[in-house]
């Protein structure tokens, strides 16, 4: 088993929580893992990425080679496309369709979405709306993770445990909201892939 995953988004959108949960689930499943994060300057509203490599054998490079990623998981559509050079021929885009506009020259969103839809395997959807319908806009990142869970080859329960692990401190209610978001994202992917 080997999964190379790029996580993408804008600073503050919660991709590092996604990384931590997948990382926790992978370790709990007895897999090997490397997860490279980008810190520093890029967090002032700039783009943020993380390379997550999971395998049952040794993982060498902390960075995923170009053309090798199995999945790009993104909480923002243009940020998903930014990492297209990393995607392998049969790789999947799993991304939010709602743009995060904090720059004056953000491209026409139709073009961004159609660029993603022109790729072989993709799930592009409004995760903000799903999160909002559940009464918690902030758990949009867990909706995206839920959709991606279908492609991770990691037991779904392990991801749930990961959520309990990282949100546990914040109380029962927050854990439950995030678990619901995870389930809703997964359901969407099951019905649309």
């Amino acid at each position: 088993m080997k999964k190379d995953i790029i996580l993408a988004g804008v600073g503050g959108q919660g991709i590092l929580s996604i990384a931590t949960i997948i990382g926790y689930a992978a370790i709990e499943s007895g897999l090997k893992l490397k997860q490279a994060e980008v810190h520093g300057m890029s967090q002032r509203g700039g783009d943020v990425q993380s390379h997550l490599r999971i395998s049952d054998s040794n993982v060498f490079s902390d960075l995923i080679p170009h053309g090798a990623a199995d999945i790009i998981i993104s909480v923002e559509p243009m940020e998903a496309l930014r990492y297209k050079p990393y995607l392998s021929e049969n790789g999947w885009f799993i991304t939010n369709s709602v743009p995060f506009v904090n720059i004056p020259n953000y491209p026409a969103i139709e073009n961004v979405i159609s660029d993603i839809q022109n790729c072989k395997n993709n799930i592009v959807f409004d995760a903000n709306q799903i999160a909002k319908d559940l009464g918690s806009s902030r758990s949009m990142n867990m909706v995206i993770l839920g959709a991606a869970s279908l492609f991770l080859d990691i037991a779904y329960e392990k991801l749930e445990e990961g959520i309990k692990f990282i949100f546990g401190r914040k109380g029962e209610k927050i854990v439950e909201t995030n678990l619901n978001a995870l389930a809703a994202g997964r359901k969407f992917a099951e019905e649309n892939s």
């Binding site: 980008v38 810190h39 300057m41 002032r44 960075l63 904090n102 720059i103």
Partner: protein, 526 residues
């Protein structure tokens, strides 16, 4: 024991803690910051009361670490690559005094300048100082090396450098811990003159350091971190240093059968280097940063074995390595990949909405509207982003502290007005001595100390000058009437512009302190 999922930085910290650390010192700087931060929140470190505070700058940090070593205890000092420039005086001299308790100097380099003003390779400093260095290839090695570095440091009485680079510092993997060692007892150096660098002692110490070099080479030759993997295909061998080894392994397959020398400990292991040079027609050198090993092998006038690397263009001279560049250097076919679609545009970092620096720059821009651009010397921190549109407010950023001192020089050259903008943490790091110069020379400058009550750029560490900036300025000799505190808020704009104008008009050293919490700190405190 269960493995811990740790960043490279955290593995360094855990390794030092488990090896009997008594104190950690440092000044924040990406990608090194998480070493001290990990120790600061580690429950075992808190329980043992391991010393773990930030210092004013890297030089004060390294000197404090030397003091702890003098007293016999094990200590680590951390910084980013440019921090070692600041601490270079202490580092170079520590090679002569050596250590009593073990000393680790952990330096994180940032090739490709993800969050830095330049790229440097700290291995050059360790070679310059004639001090040993470790360069881990993964998180477990980072832990193990750090754990063992104290023993090596105490065996030779020398500080040991741990060199790491961004990708390892900020990448997580599972790390297994070793059995925790007790802290050293306090003890004086064996010789009273160990830390006494009067010339007559220094000459002897320098000779001793030179005489130790062959022993250090032997240590490297016998080190498990310098591993030779034999191979039958001698057409091209590969030397891979630190992290570069991973990119090599990522690309080779079972069919490949060439000799590989993995380097993790310096000075270079002479025996293994001689072997690979003798048995291979060509040698490819893979190293993160600058071509240190490659230059050493090539010498000034190249002879014999062909050396490939960053100097002959096999690998780009600048920037970090990655699996793709290493693949190309190995002569392997490129993995097909697509281009970034043209609809994607850059998303550069920017000052946050509501950032206090914005209001300060709005006021400064009213001044420069009249005198024109080119009058504002700035420094390093979040506020450096004020160079970019829509602010276009500042004109320089060179190294920490350079705003005040460059403003002095430009004023000396006749520039008026000459304005410096500097953050509170940067002021504490190396602005205070510049301000002393300004007062002493009666320079006609305006120094704007942008006090957001934190070191925001690197993630909200406390800053040593907080709560005492006015007193410092007064103590240095700035006239009390020309130390002005303002609150950078849109509603105060007109009043603040007036104050800025008054201080520009004053012929002498003025200090303006725009004071308002970084917006993230404000949210956290609320």
């Amino acid at each position: 024991m269960k493995k811990l999922l740790l960043l490279g930085d955290e593995a360094i910290a855990q390794g030092a803690l488990d090896a009997g650390l008594s104190g950690a010192y440092g000044y924040p700087g990406t990608p090194s910051t998480e070493i001290v931060e990990y120790i600061q929140r580690n429950p075992e470190a808190i329980e043992k009361n391991i010393h773990r505070t930030w210092s004013a700058n890297e030089k004060t940090a390294l000197e404090a670490a030397l003091g702890m070593s003098y007293a016999g205890k094990r200590t680590i000092v951390t910084m980013k690559h440019v921090g070692l420039n600041v601490a270079a005086d202490s580092y170079m001299n520590s090679a002569l005094t050596g250590a009593n308790g073990g000393v680790i100097v952990a330096v994180a380099d940032d090739p490709s300048m993800h969050s830095s003003q330049n790229e440097q390779d700290s291995r050059f400093y360790s070679k310059f100082a004639l001090l040993p260095a470790f360069e881990p290839s993964d998180q477990q090695e980072a832990y193990n090396m750090c754990f063992e570095a104290f023993t090596l440091s105490e065996k030779y009485n020398l500080p040991i450098m741990m060199r790491l680079t961004t990708r390892l510092a900020h990448s997580r993997a599972g790390v297994a811990r070793k059995k925790v060692l007790a802290e050293n007892e306090m003890s004086f150096p064996q010789n009273r003159d160990q830390f006494m660098l009067l010339p007559s002692f220094s000459r002897k110490k320098y000779q001793k350091l030179l005489d130790t070099q062959p022993e250090l080479v032997k240590e490297s030759e016998n080190s498990k971190y310098n591993e030779y993997f034999d191979g039958n295909d001698k057409s091209c061998g590969v030397i891979a240093c630190g992290l570069a080894y991973n990119y090599l392994m990522e690309n080779i397959s079972d069919k490949d059968d060439f000799p590989i020398l993995k380097i993790g400990q310096y000075p270079l292991p002479r025996k293994q280097i001689e072997k690979i040079m003798a048995e291979c027609d060509e040698v490819l050198v893979l190293e993160e940063g600058m071509p240190l090993v490659e230059e050493m092998l090539k010498g000034y006038i190249p002879t014999g074995t062909k050396i490939k690397g960053r100097l002959d263009g096999t690998i780009s001279r600048a920037g970090e390595l990655n699996p793709k560049t290493v693949r190309k250097a190995l002569g392997l076919p490129e993995i097909p990949s697509e281009e970034i679609p043209t609809s994607v545009v850059g998303r550069p970092p920017a000052l946050c909405d509501g950032c206090p620096h914005i209001d300060t720059y709005n006021a400064i821009n009213e001044i420069t509207k009249k005198c024109g651009k080119g009058h504002v010397f700035s420094d390093i921190g979040c506020y450096t982003l004020g160079y970019l549109p829509p602010y276009n407010a500042i004109d320089t950023c060179v190294d920490m502290g350079a705003s005040i001192t460059m403003a002095i020089g430009a004023a000396d050259a006749g520039l008026f007005p000459s304005i410096a903008t500097i953050g509170d943490s940067t002021f504490g790091h190396s602005g205070i001595t510049g301000l002393l110069d300004a007062v002493d020379k009666k320079a006609n400058i305006v120094v704007v100390i942008m006090d957001n009550d934190t070191t925001a750029m690197t993630g909200m560490q406390d800053s040593q000058v907080n709560g005492r900036i006015e007193k410092i300025c007064l103590g240095i000799g700035v006239d009390e009437k020309h130390i002005r505190v303002v609150t950078p808020l849109a509603k105060n704009h007109a009043e603040n512009v007036k104050i800025f104008q008054e201080e520009v008009d004053y012929n002498g050293v003025s200090v303006i302190i725009p004071r308002r919490d970084c917006i993230h700190l404000f949210k956290k405190r609320r």
